[in-house]
Symmetry: D2
Subunit: 309 residues, 4 copies
């Protein structure tokens, strides 16, 4: 992977943001949660944090958006820190080959979700963190983790989104109850799902998200929240499972670990080079940000960043 | 990823080979092809090629074994060279979430295999190369590719293994015919499967295989067979799909692209650092070399090599 | 189908009951609900109602047992009476090819259960009846239907079983929530599942159950609760779907419509000839009464009763 | 089931044929075999055989059509006569819950087809009959069975259809090879599939087919080809599995055992009352004759014939 100076990178970001601003085929925002469906699809933002401490940005990089499933990266980091490898008794580490909200794999695997980034897997992770605590404690811990990672205290949960999410949580409840039927849920479903819906409703900007991801890029001067060996493993999971059933394609086209959310955000890591956040609300058929994925392809091509050589 | 000198690496390999020699739980050799089932499971070999041109080895590194599905990496490289991205109209790039020989995904995807490394995907790749040629030409091209890559002409097909494979090819024929029913096969099934069975029956040693993999490690002084951008993409596919339904686990535990074969071999790439081949005939439940995977974990831990930081 | 006199039938029943009493391989009672698991597996009962008004019995035919899924026949009759064919917008009429509690089919069919006799289908039927009412009203209506059909007021819900069922209802709740996510549930999940768990917990004896089934046998002097055309259709569903993924086998071996429950009961109908109830708590691998199914085979063979000629 | 005189039945048939002649929504003929796709979809025929020996007809009842999967009923009868219950070690007796040509169930059941009326099941049945014989012998036996059953020697195989079928048999070959991989095929695939494609290509008229079905209706004066107990069991399989994934619906709407073919024919049995054949080439979404199924509903309603009371 090449080292590129901030001065070389800024025009690349500007070019990408410029082109994305005028893209006509932008995908459709997620509509299953009304609050997400009402976001203006014309927006696009990108932000980069570099090992030297610089933060670059272009487009709507300071507009807050709902990070949704990107939160799964942070709750996984917290859960591994709390439980260590015992977490893997409750959730697998394999790509699912199915949609993010498929319940089929749960039945085939006796209530063990395929990985921590499909919905049932993330619910199991949240359930593991919640054990012995109250939802408010877990959410406070997540916010503290995010604020420490981003070195920015202005990170909050959007309660309207959380409540809207909760009101449309039937499928996630179904998955939680299915896991419970196999003994793979430790808390009352309502508590776990309530916590999960709030964790997904964190609002962050691209700048905040890129800064929060620095601990995964191995920067010497970033807050060190997780051991290097665990960082590598979280990155591995993002690469193999971070984009649902389009994870293979993202690895092929972009070549970097990444995690997407239905709010249109993507957090992506170029180890030792950059922590990157992109955002555009319109989704493609696999539920990932259409322009976000395209922007990442453009960035990877322009920089030569890829974990694969 | 750390740079390590050959002098530091050799004792690591020796240690690994020593421990593997005395391992008692070695898995079971593949039995569905009689010739593979009769291999002595007590063997273990490892070889490494470094960017400076050195080749290190330990254990049974010069004993030939059947590369089986590792051949899929090389036929993919050939096919991408011949057809470019048009290949992807016939085969996907996503992990399957299923066993290497599952036909379920084929039905769900209308005859399009999930990726080039599950059996139906590799059959489609071979079929694509075969178009307009004779099986012998395709096999000659594969051998030439391997010999050039390894800079070693002593690489051959074991005809007994090929014929044994052909005699037990019902399931692969089923997949080929299923693809044919969806118009996703261009040659007569017998030709494609005949070619495929022979390509899997190439014999190589760990040393030969590690040398043949150098083109994927981006070494300046290795034969350049594929463009850097394509190298990255082949590595990406190996990482997400190279170990069937244990690909996520290999990425998590080892952190390097790799491709396994039921002969017990694994080819793994540490970009810019090393091309690695390990071999031990006993397989684990997912059909990958049990000691081979363990050896790769040991090597990755000892060297710090990982694409993920 | 042959006409057989009561005097000829009684020794047949006695023989069957005698042989079943000494059977050693009796299957295992359902254990997922503790109250069902504690039933003495040594019991066996059989009862028959004939068109002339006679009720024959043998074995433990007056011991109450939990009818469980047999209740689905009666709630279906009530739902069809209330909603008519509009019910079929919410539930299919096809055998599932899967276990009674599989959620896979629900995902493949967008939240529409395969038929009214798999768990999610029965939950949808109960949900349809419940619409606009309170659970107590629905349960009162069911008990009234059963009492009228059996001409016996001593039919009740076992509240301990109902509560135990509710405490282990995670999988049924999962199915209800999954249907809710597709808009195929009209009431709060807790109400529907609460009603469903109580409906399954009705206690009846073989004699009561055989009498309650007369309306499906088309007897002139039985309470007429459903039109002849609807009777035929309920019988059709019992034949194709009444024994979960062993329905085809029951049709092949016995040749009569039937509905089993995990309490070990089976209600079976020989149209114009007999309404039959058998009971033995031990289940076979498909979740149907092992001795109950065997007894029905014996009875069908001895009487020549079969809808198929 | 009611007894109805021939004089009452003829106007019912005439009415049905009249209405079907003018139906506008007729479905689409099967197109995967070119020869079937070119049949005029405007045709409709119906024929009935009664216990008194009468044969009634209306519409295009003497036009030959390709019986296709209806042949599976007759090969099943032959196989059961030859092998008895040992046949059931190779094929199940349960509805599949899937399309007629789905290979998914084969993988889930380790190469054992769900029932004798889905394609892989019928292929296994043909393979069982073929064991130790030549294809021509098996086909001669089938024709002899049909001619004896129909008391009509003018029943033949359309070789053009057979060859066209063979040229488009990839999916059936895939299923045969998949079964072979599980040891569930006794003959070379080419022989079994060759035989199967020819057996499906038998041409019969509605009159011939209704007459050939009399042995399943239990008529005293029809050729007795199969024991009464086996007749009941074949009828049971037709009812639960005879219309692929619309079997439940046919049982519900018509209430009689039946077997459809993609040529547009349906053979249906009203035990002791009638053997019925209908034909119209256009198919519905489940691959069954659209007007044929509709005609059977009309006939069942008009006559009150139903095995269910």
């Amino acid at each position: 992977m090449e080292a590129i100076s901030p001065a070389e990178l800024q025009p690349i970001l500007d070019d990408i943001a410029h082109d994305m601003a005028s893209a006509t085929d932008r995908g459709e925002p997620a509509i299953y949660i009304p609050e997400l469906g009402s976001v203006d699809p014309g927006q696009f933002g990108i932000a980069l944090c570099l090992p030297g401490g610089e933060t670059l940005q272009a487009g709507d990089a300071t507009t807050p958006f709902s990070i949704q499933s990107i939160s799964k990266v942070f709750t996984l980091a917290i859960a591994l820190g709390r439980l260590g490898d015992s977490l893997w008794a409750r959730v697998g580490r394999e790509p699912s080959g199915l949609a993010f909200n498929s319940i089929v794999a749960l039945e085939h695997n006796n209530g063990i979700p395929r990985n921590p980034f499909v919905n049932p897997g993330a619910i199991a992770v949240t359930d593991a963190i919640l054990h012995g605590l109250q939802p408010r404690d877990v959410l406070a811990e997540l916010l503290q983790f995010l604020r420490t990672a981003a070195e920015d205290d202005d990170i909050h949960i959007d309660k309207d989104v959380a409540l809207s999410e909760l009101a449309h949580a039937h499928r996630n409840i179904a998955m939680a109850e299915f896991m419970a039927s196999h003994g793979n849920l430790q808390n009352p479903t309502a508590l776990t799902i309530g916590t999960y819906c709030h964790q997904c409703a964190v609002d962050m900007t691209c700048v905040q998200l890129a800064r929060a991801g620095r601990f995964l890029a191995g920067f010497a001067n970033a807050p060190r929240l997780v051991s290097p060996s665990r960082v590598r493993r979280i990155n591995a999971l993002m690469l193999t499972c971070g984009h649902y059933d389009a994870s293979g394609d993202f690895a092929y086209q972009v070549g970097l670990p990444g995690k997407s959310g239905v709010g249109g955000g993507i957090l992506s890591i170029a180890p030792t080079r950059a922590s990157i956040a992109v955002w555009s609300p319109g989704l493609n058929a696999q539920g990932n940000s259409k322009l976000g994925a395209l922007a990442m392809e453009r960035l990877a091509e322009a920089t030569g960043w890829s974990v694969f050589g």
